[in-house]
């Protein structure tokens, strides 16, 4: 069972892992966009990790969403805030997340983010990563969940490498985006990787 404490510890790990990956993400975004993704992600998680989370897990997730809104209003930050907000709504009033509910939370985040960003699956964005992770987790054994999520995120990124970006700034690069990782999918991989340690 995941409590606010567990969440805080995970945020701290993500913050340090994405901080380390910041340059990599900025340069991936630089090749297809404005080069700010590493800063967006690491700043957002640092702010979230530094936030005192309430015990109510719904309110904790809301606090994380707000942290993102405060410091990173680039697309990715806003989308993550939207995702956390959707999860917050589902968990309001509880003090623990039941791992069995996780695939549903990821799917809810995915749907809210699709609505907010008007994106579609297959556009080569973080949405595809969320979708893959939600599906993979659905039947995963508890102790395998993190590895399964990492594998799904990694596969998604690699699988879309060969396709063109259809949304966001990267769309403008058209065919030239083929062969490049989507920065948002790569960032998502770095985020779930951090859950391991």
């Amino acid at each position: 069972m995941i409590s606010s404490k567990t969440l805080s510890a995970a945020l701290a790990r993500i913050a340090s892992h994405t901080e380390a990956a910041s340059e990599e993400l900025c340069s991936a975004d630089g090749a297809l966009g404005d080069g700010d993704l590493g800063i967006t992600v690491s700043k957002g998680f640092a702010e979230a990790a530094a936030t005192d989370l309430p015990e109510d897990i719904g309110m904790a997730l809301l606090a994380i969403a707000k942290a993102f809104q405060r410091v990173s209003s680039s697309s990715y930050g806003t989308l993550l805030a939207t995702g956390f907000m959707a999860a917050a709504k589902m968990e309001k009033g509880k003090t623990k997340i039941d791992p069995a509910g996780i695939p549903g939370l990821v799917a809810a985040a995915r749907d809210a983010m699709m609505a907010r960003g008007k994106g579609h699956l297959g556009d080569k964005t973080v949405l595809d990563s969320l979708d893959a992770v939600a599906n993979a987790l659905d039947h995963a054994p508890l102790e395998e969940m993190i590895n399964v999520a990492i594998a799904a995120a990694a596969e998604t990124a690699e699988q879309y490498r060969g396709k063109p970006n259809k949304l966001g700034r990267a769309r403008m690069f058209g065919e030239r985006s083929i062969g490049l990782l989507d920065p948002g999918q790569l960032a998502f991989l770095r985020i779930v990787e951090a859950l391991r340690a």
């Binding site: 800063i39 209003s73 939207t82 907010r116 949304l167 403008m172 690069f173």
Partner: protein
């Protein structure tokens, strides 16, 4: 880093403080990173807000002023402001007649402004509408024109919608006129050098001595394709050809044209571009109204230029010529 600044983290806040201090009769900053008219919202007038990153002066925040914008939310250099700041801008712009959100089509900005609109509606019961600028012709093909990004065409939209609001048009009418204006704008940009975002501290891209970027946005990102530097006349020719391929111009059409420096390119070179554009349009029998040549929408100290053409009808023309005043522009 060859910039005049103190701590890069303070760049935007110090810049805004200086701007408001220099023009206290024009600008106020009632909420951090939200600039509003010094005189406050005008009762009964439709408010117009915009928002976007810093580093583009006069865009975005410089165009707050009479006959122009009412408020603007400002982010870090080239970064979207937060939804909360945008909601504050909407609140500050509201004179009781509703507020138009008028800004450039960028993913992050759209998501945040949508959220901001929802917040303002929920918290303050303010009716809002949206018009997006999608004037950069090379950022998506004509069939997907709604996906194009917004660049210097914003200047015309602020001016024309601002004049409509100032004369007392209601929200639907201001929105309609803003949309017609946005639809009538076509832009294209080119650059010779990158710029440096203060917090990054290094140039946004690398480019050779004899190369230029074509299809330039205003966020320091590379252009859409790269070419060898050509004579100014050929650059102007190609830019106009691409604009006219998207929106044909014919004898008798009335347009305005904005030849805009991205920052470092001096006025002298803008006039060299304008000279060719003028010749070409004269030859076609196209009438130029109130041409704008100067720094209207910049990317810090980038070397380069954009050209925007707006096709005018009588109404747009008279609104374009209506009086307006901010610290950067007086009509």
């Amino acid at each position: 880093m060859k910039k005049i600044l103190n701590n890069p983290a303070d760049y935007v806040d110090e810049m805004l403080e200086g701007m408001v201090a220099a023009h206290p009769g024009t600008y106020a900053q009632p909420v951090r990173r939200v600039i509003a008219r010094a005189a406050g919202a005008k009762k009964g007038k439709v408010g117009i807000v915009t928002g976007g990153g810093s580093g583009h002066l006069p865009i975005f925040t410089g165009y707050v002023g009479t006959g122009l914008l009412d408020a603007c939310a400002i982010g870090d250099v080239f970064a979207s402001p937060s939804a909360e700041q945008m909601a504050e801008a909407i609140r500050l712009a509201d004179g009781g007649a509703g507020v138009l959100r008028l800004y450039g089509n960028y993913g992050g900005d759209v998501m945040n402004f949508d959220m901001a609109g929802e917040m303002a509606e929920m918290e303050h019961d303010i009716r809002t509408t949206t018009v997006l600028l999608t004037d950069d012709v090379v950022s998506a093909p004509k069939e997907e024109a709604e996906k194009r990004r917004g660049v210097a065409g914003m200047v015309y939209a602020f001016k024309i919608a601002g004049a409509a609001a100032e004369r007392g048009d209601d929200l639907d009418e201001v929105t309609r006129i803003a949309q017609i204006t946005a639809d009538a704008c076509r832009s294209i940009g080119m650059a010779l050098t990158p710029c440096t975002i203060p917090q990054a501290g290094k140039p946004t891209f690398e480019i050779g001595e004899t190369e230029m970027e074509m299809g330039m946005g205003i966020h320091g990102e590379p252009g859409i394709w790269r070419d060898a530097i050509k004579p100014a006349d050929e650059i102007a020719e190609e830019m106009l050809e691409r604009l006219m391929a998207d929106q044909p111009l014919a004898k008798g059409d009335r347009i305005s044209i904005l030849v805009n420096s991205l920052g470092a390119t001096p006025a002298e070179e803008l006039y060299i571009l304008y000279r060719h554009a003028r010749k070409k349009l004269d030859a076609l029998g196209v009438e130029i109204v109130m041409p704008l040549v100067g720094r209207y929408a910049t990317s810090m100290e980038m070397t380069g230029a954009t050209i925007t053409v707006i096709k005018l009808d009588e109404e747009l023309e008279s609104l374009l010529k209506a009086p307006a005043e901010c610290a950067f522009w007086r009509v």
